[in-house]
Symmetry: none
Subunit: 181 residues, 2 copies
């Protein structure tokens, strides 16, 4: 009913389900706590999702970002701002672009998906494993050992942040992000 009408009165729900209004109030409280609806004086309405935090697009290439995205790269900026990019490729470019405004940069270990600091991470480029996000592809590892073992099987080069940044920036001259998806 709420979804169809957008707004329903407590009394209508009470009559519809043949229970007291008190029960409706109590049940709606649960839905409110789940953030699904919003109670206003005299009724309920659908909660607006607009104020949700999720950033759904890559700040750099504007490609949609999936929720699971282990490739994502996050930039913590001054003034409580946060930016998210689809992968380390765009993350590094944006990072360099913003400069000192970046307080921290986070990415994920490609193997374990644990969150790590980008500046101390190990980056793998030129590997045979194509994740299909952006070119040139950059994979992130929290652990040098993991990065090297990965390269053993899938080829590629292990780099530090600055090295990777340089490589990507160079490649940027000739155009970068794939448009796919």
């Amino acid at each position: 009913m709420i979804q169809e009408e957008g707004h329903v009165k407590i009394r209508d729900l009470s009559e519809k389900f043949e229970v007291s209004e008190m029960t409706i109030h109590r049940d709606l409280k649960l839905l409110m706590e789940q953030g699904l609806v919003k109670k206003i004086f005299g009724g309920v309405q659908l909660q607006e999702v607009s104020n949700k935090i999720q950033q759904k697009q890559c700040t750099y290439c504007h490609k949609p970002i999936s929720n699971e995205g282990k490739l994502t790269y996050q930039l913590i900026l001054s003034a409580n701002r946060i930016e998210r990019t689809c992968c380390a490729h765009c993350g590094i470019l944006r990072h360099k672009q913003l400069g000192e405004v970046v307080l921290q940069a986070l990415c994920h270990d490609f193997m374990t998906n644990t969150t790590i600091s980008a500046t101390t991470a190990w980056f793998v480029m030129d590997t045979s494993l194509q994740m299909g996000c952006c070119e040139p592809q950059v994979l992130t590892f929290g652990n040098k050992d993991h990065a090297e073992k990965f390269v053993k099987g899938f080829d590629g080069t292990v780099l530090r942040f600055e090295e990777a940044a340089e490589r990507v920036t160079e490649a940027m001259q000739a155009g970068c992000c794939s448009k796919q998806k």
Copy 2:
């Protein structure tokens, strides 16, 4: 009745089978422990209502499942039910436990995270990379080539579904899921 309606009252079952409600409670308790149904106050309903929201616990070891969890294993069952386990280890065990009720089993390629069919996937065990989920650890690959390249760097054995199932089932005798987290 539960599968048809999705939800049934204890009283209805009691009248239908001409036994006391106490007996229904007791019998349902067994089905609950098997994870087939869920008791709510005043009735029973199917455990996982089709396409509905996320299941937050591993059906097998009851460990919380993170949303990103690329290790997760999903079982599509009859009557629109879906089960989710924390990793292939629990997934395979549950898969074998349920038998024919399983219509399909899904997991993810460890590298690309693309969704693949478990029965045709490639499984890697005894590798040096510890993901810290369950023991013995089982990683899933959609691509034989990826699995072999992975093993090149991180060691381990590449197996087909039945082989992996056998290996895990054997290890199960001596206790299985890690209790962590």
